[in-house]
Structures are given as C-alpha cells and as structure tokens.
C-alpha cells in the first residue's frame, strides 16, 4: 500500500478524533463562507486576483528584477537561491557574518520546505519558532499539519502536557488562555534576546521593493523590529506588481484562510531599521520548472490561505501529516508531483475530485482538474500501484465492448448476490474497506427500459 492511504488509515483508526478534526476544519470553512458572502464583489475579486497572478507569472522575470532593483534602492540586500540547499547556505552565511547565536522565526512554509531549522541547529544556532502553533509543533518535534493552523491536529490536553514539560505550566492545565499566556511570556523572553529575526513573505511588491507579512499574533513584527538583523525568505512566485494589487489580495487572504476580514497585522517592510540590516532571499527550488508545465503552472498563483484544505473531505479526514509534505491537502497534492513524481505519486489520488477546493480558491486555481491531469501522467509513467492498474485494466476490457459489458452485468448481478461477505470484501477490494457495496438490483437498466418503454 502506498503512503497516503496507509497514513490516512492510521489517522482514521481513531474515529472520535477523526470526527473532531473534521469538525474543527469545517467550522473554519463555514467562517470563510460567511465572510465571503459578506463581500458583494467576492467573485469579481477572485477573478481579479487570478488575472493579476496570471499576468505576473507571465512577466515573472521582469517583476522580480523590478522588485530587486527597488529593494536595493531601499537599502535591503537581495539574494537568489536556486534550491533549498543554496537558500539554507545563504541564510547561514548571513547569520555567521553577524555571529548570530539565537534566531527568532515567524511562520514560513518556505523554510519548512527547505528544512532550514535542522540545518541551522546543526551549526549551533538556536532557532525559535514564534507563531504559537509553530512553537507547539517545534517543541513536539513534528512538522506542521496545516499551513495556516500548524497545530490543528493537537488537542489542548496534549498541548497542556507539552507546556507542563517544556514551560513548567501547571500539570493538567488545558485552558487555552492560560497556555497562550505562558507561551507569550516564554516567547517575549526570546524576542528580547534574539540576535536576528527571520520571516516568510506573503506578498513582495515589485513597485515598492517592500515585503508584506500578515500575522494575527504580532510575532513577526516583535521579532523583526527588536533584532538588529532581519531576513525575509520568499518563493519567487510571491511577487505582485503594484501597491494597488495588495488591496485585492488582502481582501481575499484572511477571509479565505480563517474567516477574518483581514489579519490583525499587515506589515510592509521597506527599509532596514535605523542601524539595522535587511536581507531578502528569493528562492526558486523547483518553481521556475513548475512555471514551464503548462497544465500546472497556475498552481504557482497560490497565496497559501489553506482554504482548499479546510474544505477538502479527504484532508479533513486524513490529517495534514498523511500527505508527508510541508504543504498538504489539495494544493500540496498538485505541487508535489512536480517535485518528485515517484515519491508523491499517491497524492493526486488523495481526492474525490469533488472540486470544492477549486470553488473556494481565492485565486481560482483549477486544483481538481490538475489533480486529474497528474493522475494521467502518473499512470503513463507507470507509477500506479497494482491494486489500481489491475482493476482498471479489467474495467477497460469489459467497458470497451457492449457485448462483454452486458454479459458482465448479467452474471455479476447473479454472482454478487450469493458471494459470501469475506470473499466480496477481500483485501484486494480496496474500495470496500470502509464502504458497503450498493445493493444489487434485480434487473439491469436495459431490461427495465425494455419493459417500460412506451411503444406508442
């Protein structure tokens, strides 16, 4: 069995917990719906955002150059990294040049993608994630299970236990308010001591050369403004043309992500602080390659709101960790095959192709259609598991010929009724693992039609 089905099976083994996870995310989806419906021009905004991103991607080189030129004029230093390794080395070099021993980070899926934390820790640099959810999973030594709510898979009892061990909170304490306060005190002490701060980037504006960061906790700003050295790491698809366009994206982002009208903080960092240094690292890591795949390039429009995860019936019932990639859920399942087709060949199948992901996507990525297209490629490349190919081949043989199809339906109706359960639900019947086969009808539609056809 391939990885996602196995990990999903492990996840749903605990039914109550699966229901709880499913429900938590559905609440976020409902909040998103409420907020989206409150904006009369919502669909026009989605269309605009989609077109702005399409335009930007089709002029990506010139916008990146414009962004770099303006950022340099503003006094920032700009670096380019072709892959994760180069990115990590650039960050390490900057930190070492400043003899940084302690680094505070705000949420950045890019640095997760590049495995920056373990790399820096190996070099003796203390890395503290400062988003509460990220700090929780860092202490637990786990990857995030959601790009916006990294610790959505954990219960407050587990977090209470963790904080008791790491932050000496009272044993058995589970009140989110109490636990958040403990984290606040703990993180403040790190903000005040850090030598450097590193953040991700939500939007890099070509026109201004500045980077925009959206948070609710204020952790990015606490880190960036207190430390003398600030580093912003961005995937090269984060650039948008103009300040004006930020208006469109900030209207969509938080409403889609968490059902808030806007994130509490939307900061625009243009110049280094007086006496400080500001670095921007622009990272490719497979993005320019994805740009060349016509059917899949618009996955680069993603603004990382996570709405597709919250709505996905598979994600909600299998958990973020079952995808085994930094960006899980529907969007992760169309980003990963381009990175390693063989390794992630199971992910485009982690979908019912219901299309809900595409419906909620604020930049109108055709996610479910890309999932379908990846499936074709995976089949052509021979990465389908036997459990799928065997059934497919058999179905193709039967369905391609009317006589064989009619014969099959006739005999199957007879056989299925008498086949004992254990034989019907053999291990090879993957579909029937959590599902009941429908009741076998007494006659085929063709027979019924013959009998009921109005001859007049």
């Amino acid at each position: 069995m391939s990885k996602h089905p196995q990990k999903a099976a492990d996840f749903i083994a605990n039914e109550a917990r699966t229901d709880w996870h499913d429900q938590s995310l559905w609440v976020v989806r409902e909040k998103r719906d409420k907020l989206a419906k409150g904006v009369a021009e919502w669909e026009e905004l989605r269309e605009l955002a989609s077109q702005i991103k399409d335009h930007t991607l089709s002029h990506l080189d010139s916008y990146l150059e414009e962004f770099e030129k303006n950022a340099l004029t503003n006094g920032a230093k700009v670096h380019w990294a072709k892959d994760a390794e180069a990115h990590n080395q650039i960050v390490l070099d900057i930190l070492q040049r400043h003899q940084v021993r302690s680094l505070v980070k705000s949420k950045s899926m890019l640095t997760e993608e590049c495995s920056l934390n373990p790399f820096l820790e190996k070099q003796g640099i203390e890395v503290i994630d400062t988003d509460l959810g990220e700090r929780i999973i860092q202490m637990k030594n786990e990857p995030p299970s959601h790009i916006v709510m990294p610790a959505i898979h954990l219960k407050k009892e587990e977090i209470g236990e963790l904080f008791h061990e790491k932050l000496q909170t009272e044993k058995g304490a589970t009140d989110p308010k109490y636990l958040t306060e403990a984290a606040r005190q703990h993180l403040r002490s790190h903000f005040l001591q850090a030598d450097a701060a590193l953040s991700g980037v939500n939007f890099a504006i070509a026109e201004t050369g500045g980077v925009t960061i959206c948070t609710n906790e204020g952790n990015a700003d606490m880190g960036i403004h207190l430390a003398p050295l600030q580093i912003h790491c961005m995937g090269l698809e984060k650039v948008i043309p103009r300040q004006k366009d930020l208006g469109v994206f900030t209207r969509l982002l938080a409403r889609s992500a968490t059902g808030q009208p806007i994130t509490i903080y939307t900061s625009h960092h243009l110049k280094p602080k007086p006496g400080g240094e500001m670095h921007i690292v622009i990272v490719d890591n497979g993005r320019s390659e994805q740009l060349g795949r016509e059917d899949f390039r618009n996955s680069l429009k993603c603004i990382r709101c996570g709405a597709c995860m919250n709505t996905c019936p598979i994600y909600r019932r299998s958990g973020g960790h079952s995808y085994d990639y930094t960006v899980p859920g529907p969007i992760g399942s169309i980003l990963t095959p381009g990175k390693d087709l063989k390794k992630y060949s199971d992910l485009p199948f982690a979908s019912s192709l219901c299309g809900s992901c595409s419906d909620v996507c604020p930049v109108k990525i055709d996610i479910h259609q890309q999932l379908y297209k990846w499936r074709q490629i995976i089949a052509e490349e021979g990465y389908l598991p036997k459990s799928k190919t065997k059934g497919m081949h058999m179905a193709a043989k039967i369905l391609s010929n009317p006589t064989s199809y009619q014969r099959a339906t006739k005999w199957m109706r007879r056989i299925l009724r008498f086949l004992p359960r254990p034989l019907l639900y053999l291990n090879t019947n993957v579909w029937g693992k959590q599902r009941e086969l429908p009741e076998v009808p007494t006659k085929t539609f063709k027979d019924w039609y013959k009998e009921n056809r109005d001859e007049s």
């Binding site: 938590s24 976020v28 009369a40 021009e41 026009e44 905004l45 399409d54 335009h55 089709s58 990506l60 080189d61 990146l64 380019w80 072709k82 509460l132 959810g133 709510m149 954990l154 219960k155 407050k156 977090i159 308010k177 958040t180 984290a183 606040r184 005040l192 026109e207 201004t208 906790e217 204020g218 952790n219 700003d221 606490m222 960036i224 403004h225 207190l226 090269l236 043309p241 300040q243 004006k244 930020l246 208006g247 469109v248 209207r251 009208p261 806007i262 509490i264 903080y265 939307t266 900061s267 625009h268 960092h269 243009l270 280094p272 602080k273 320019s288 740009l291 060349g292 016509e294 390039r297």
Partner: protein, 188 residues
C-alpha cells in the same frame, strides 16, 4: 544564481497575459458605522467623542499609574523612547499613536514609521490606542491603497485589532505576542 533563475523563468513562462485594470469597488454602508461594527467583531474597543482624550479617561480604562508613550498632543509621554534600548521598551504599558486612515470593511488602521520613534512600539506595549479622525475612515482596502504610499516610509502597517491566536484547538485567545488590547479613539 540570479542569471540562471531568470533565464529559466524566461524560457518557461507563458505568453504575456494582460494586467487587469480596475477601480475601487463601491459600497453601500456608512464607513464609520461599519468600522465600529467591525472593531467590535475583532475584539477592539471604540471611543467616539468630540472632546480630546484625557489622562483621566485612560486611568479609568487601563488603571492608574501606567507608563505611557503618547504620539498625540493631548496626552504627555512618561517615557522618552529614544533614551530606551530596544530591549527596555517592553516596560511601556500604554502606547498612543495617531493613525492616518482606517478601513471600514475590516477595521484596519494604517500608520507608518513617521509616527513611530521605534518600530516595535505598537506590538511590544501591553495596550495600544490608535487615534483616528472621523473623516479619515475609508470604505475598503482599494480606497485605502489610493490614499497611502507604501514607498514613503521604511515601515508601515495596518492594525486590525488586538493580537490574537486560535492555535490551541481553534479557541480564540486575545493577547498572543503583540498588544493585549486595541482601543480606537475616533475624533468627530
């Protein structure tokens, strides 16, 4: 590295697609009413009055004897930010700052470095008070973007409520890493 990446992009990008032109979307609400409604929804407090803000008012709201940094004329500062090191700024409890504009549709208040003796002030304080002129409330983000200039100051920000998190079981907790409360004082 840069040259390689850009060359790769040029080889792979799609045929040029147009940048859509658009103007600010209109709205049918009263900006001030909408702003007050939104502030309530995100856990902020609104003071609406003609008279200037007084120290007595602050004492009633936040308790006596708080250390204050004030960026408005009506209230005196207790601290001289320039004399404090960055790491001593957390001792300031109340920070009062003028905001340039406020956005009705989401409760966001905009200010830039020109009113910040230190960039961390609005985050590191325990309680933040933003002062806004009633005439400076705009309807939506499009209008806001037409009125501000992000290229002007080294740092600028929209603040739309007190710091908050829902990272523990989606329970909303006000007062994560930034200010524990936000009060917006609307002068009309």
């Amino acid at each position: 590295m840069k040259v390689d990446i850009l060359r790769h992009i040029r080889a792979n990008k799609a045929h040029p697609l147009p940048l859509p032109e658009y103007t600010a979307f209109s709205y049918d609400f009263n900006p001030q009413e909408k702003f007050i409604e939104l502030m309530g929804a995100v856990g902020g407090k609104v003071l609406l009055q003609k008279e200037p803000l007084t120290l007595d008012q602050l004492s009633t709201l936040f308790g006596e004897g708080k250390s204050i940094y004030s960026g408005i004329d009506d209230i005196n500062s207790h601290v001289e930010v320039s004399k404090l090191k960055a790491h001593e700024l957390h001792k300031i409890e109340l920070v009062i700052l003028p905001a340039q504009i406020a956005v009705a549709e989401n409760g966001a208040c905009y200010l830039d470095e020109s009113v910040l003796p230190h960039r961390v002030l609005p985050f590191i304080c325990q309680h933040l008070i933003l002062v806004i002129d009633a005439h400076s409330i705009v309807g939506n983000m499009h209008e806001a973007m037409e009125k501000i200039d992000l290229s002007k100051e080294g740092f600028s920000i929209f603040i739309a409520g007190p710091s908050k998190t829902a990272d523990i079981e989606q329970s909303l907790v006000i007062g994560a890493q930034g200010a524990r409360s936000l009060t917006v004082f609307i002068k009309n």
